[in-house]
């Protein structure tokens, strides 16, 4: 991945067109809803404006190359974890927060650096990347020992470990995917399909939603929305087959299921956390979307599942 390679990569260029056409169509539909059918869409319009900024930004970071992309993912993970820590109150403990930050940066370093010795098929230190949680959790467990205190430490350690594994490491898989042979195809597919799945769930839920999916956790999500989103996500890999060149029918179905089901689970799991803490959004960093975590929650689930599914069938790098 490099700017030069991106300019000559048909898959990346195709996705640039796909993204802008999708944004244009969505804008046109919203415009029609507003002008012709006189619907109140102020809130959706703000969300749409958020997409207008985020989609080109994501393409620009992918365009910039492998290392900038991994740095970008690491920064998103750091600020995503910061939201989690601020919401749960863990952020008051700068030692624990610092330990998790160190773990997240290590995930980024493991994604960038080559394996020190032995033959490796491509960039990135895979063995260390999958082992980072061992070291991060070891560091988190050492913090109370260093500070010689125990009161409330189990809660802090637990929050630190959940925050690291969930936001730092699982989301970090997106960064490691940049080392794949078909990095452009995989990254663009995973990000695009997951976000389309999110929007589809929202849209189907809004139009047909009747039966709550998980009434206790997230009363606004419905079975109709979830099933509609899964249907869209099952079709999408076939339409975007050019970006997944090695995939046969089994893998395409799996890719669709991972995005369709994983995306919803990611959304719901962040809802569980928010519900228990008692907050509505994880932050206010993206107008119309809430916090960073509210936006990347589905990717957190989808990225690792997609990466390991692909790695099972084909050499990833």
């Amino acid at each position: 991945m490099s700017p030069k390679a991106a300019l000559h990569d048909p898959v990346f260029l195709a996705y640039v067109r796909v993204v802008f056409v999708t944004l244009a169509i969505a804008g046109a539909i919203l415009g029609l809803l507003h002008l012709v059918w006189k619907k109140q869409i102020a809130a959706i319009w703000q969300t749409y404006r958020g997409w207008l900024v985020m989609a080109p930004l994501a393409l620009a970071v992918i365009f910039a190359g492998r290392v900038p992309f991994i740095v970008g993912v690491t920064l998103l993970a750091i600020f995503g974890f910061k939201e989690f820590a601020r919401a749960s109150g863990l952020y008051r403990d700068w030692w624990m927060t610092g330990a998790v930050y160190a773990g997240i940066v290590t995930v980024g370093i493991a994604s960038v650096m080559p394996q020190p010795q032995g033959e490796e098929p491509g960039p990135g230190w895979y063995a260390f990347f999958v082992a980072v949680p061992v070291f991060a959790i070891a560091l988190i467990l050492v913090i109370p020992i260093l500070r010689n205190r125990f009161r409330g430490e189990l809660q802090r350690m637990s929050l630190g470990i959940v925050g690291f594994v969930y936001v730092g490491w699982m989301f970090g898989h997106l960064g490691f995917l940049a080392n794949a042979v078909h990095a452009y195809g995989y990254l663009c597919y995973v990000i695009f399909a997951t976000e389309v799945n999110d929007v589809a769930a929202f849209t189907f839920g809004r139009i047909f939603g009747r039966h709550p999916l998980r009434s206790e956790i997230s009363p606004k999500k419905t079975w109709e929305g979830a099933l509609g989103a899964i249907a869209v996500s099952m079709i999408l890999p076939w339409l975007l087959r050019f970006s997944l060149p090695e995939f046969g029918p089994t893998q395409l179905i799996l890719a669709g299921l991972i995005v369709g089901i994983g995306g919803q689970l990611g959304d719901l799991s962040i809802s569980v956390i928010k519900r228990d803490i008692g907050t509505k959004d994880m932050g206010q960093s993206i107008p119309g979307h809430g916090g960073i975590l509210d936006r990347i929650d589905s990717l957190i689930y989808v990225a690792p599942l997609f990466m390991h599914m692909t790695g099972y069938y084909y050499p990833l790098r």
Binding site: W94, G278, T279, Q284
Partner: protein, 266 residues
């Protein structure tokens, strides 16, 4: 199993800029880091570009909370007072800054809150609320409150009358106040000029004063304000005499610049 108790940050539902406009602000690692970095850069620049010098720095070494008051003629004043303090005080020193000037636009909010840890002080409405916040700050140990009692920068370099609010804050409160005189800041960066000039800046820190025994009535409040102003003026005058002596002895660089300008004219 006992339920966990979460203590979310109080500013969770606010945007970044809204959070910076708060006071007291929730501690933020990124903001603290940036502020420490800014403090280092400012100290370096003041030392080289303005040959910044502190007279009476020993008065600043105190673990109790105290107030710094100084004459105000330049944006350099705040950064000079901050740079005179020990570096570990960077996160505990709060210059009171006009809320209507420093906390309105987004870039100024960033500079004021991240850069110098400013306390938003409303000059017109909510004055009483701002005074309460200052009082709470001083009730906790280890804080430094920086106040320019003139209320705004002087346009002539001469010290203006002090607003009586400083008296109201100090009367009957067992808090030390250090009068400070800033010399050269006006010539280096007067009001209305976009960038500072490389002139020498000197800060003279006077001995601590305490108004714990004074009543908080109107007369004594304005008396405290004018006493502080006199103390600062005296620091300045004593300092000015020394400077005049220096000039009488004839500084070589002053002579040199005179010769050079003469040649250029010819």
């Amino acid at each position: 199993m006992k339920r966990w108790r979460y203590t979310p940050m109080a500013d969770l539902d606010q945007t970044m800029v809204e959070r910076l406009r708060n006071f007291p602000r929730e501690p933020d690692m990124l903001v603290y880091g940036l502020r420490a970095l800014v403090a280092l850069i400012i100290r370096g620049l003041l030392g080289t570009y303005h040959r910044f010098e502190v007279v009476g720095a020993e008065n600043l070494r105190n673990e109790r909370s105290f107030v710094l008051v100084a004459n105000h003629s330049s944006h350099l004043d705040t950064v000079c007072l901050l740079a005179a303090l020990p570096f570990r005080k960077v996160q505990r020193a709060f210059p009171a800054a006009a809320a209507d000037y420093f906390f309105r636009s987004v870039p100024r909010t960033w500079i004021a809150s991240i850069g110098v840890n400013a306390l938003p002080f409303s000059r017109s409405v909510h004055v009483r609320h701002s005074m309460t916040i200052c009082g709470q700050l001083l009730a906790n140990p280890g804080n430094v409150l920086i106040i320019f009692p003139e209320g705004t920068r002087s346009t002539t370099g001469a010290t203006q009358e002090f607003k009586s609010g400083i008296g109201a804050l100090l009367a009957g409160r067992d808090v030390n106040v250090l009068p400070c005189y800033l010399d050269g800041a006006f010539h280096a960066w007067p009001k209305g000029q976009s960038l500072p000039r490389p002139r020498k800046v000197r800060l003279i820190v006077g001995p601590p004063r305490n108004y714990a025994t004074r009543a908080a009535d109107k007369a004594s409040i304005s008396a405290i304000a004018s006493e502080l102003r006199d103390a600062i003026e005296q620091l300045g005058q004593r300092h000015d005499i020394r400077r005049t002596l220096d000039e009488d002895l004839g500084r070589p660089e002053a002579v040199l610049s005179f010769v050079e300008s003469g040649e250029a004219d010819g």
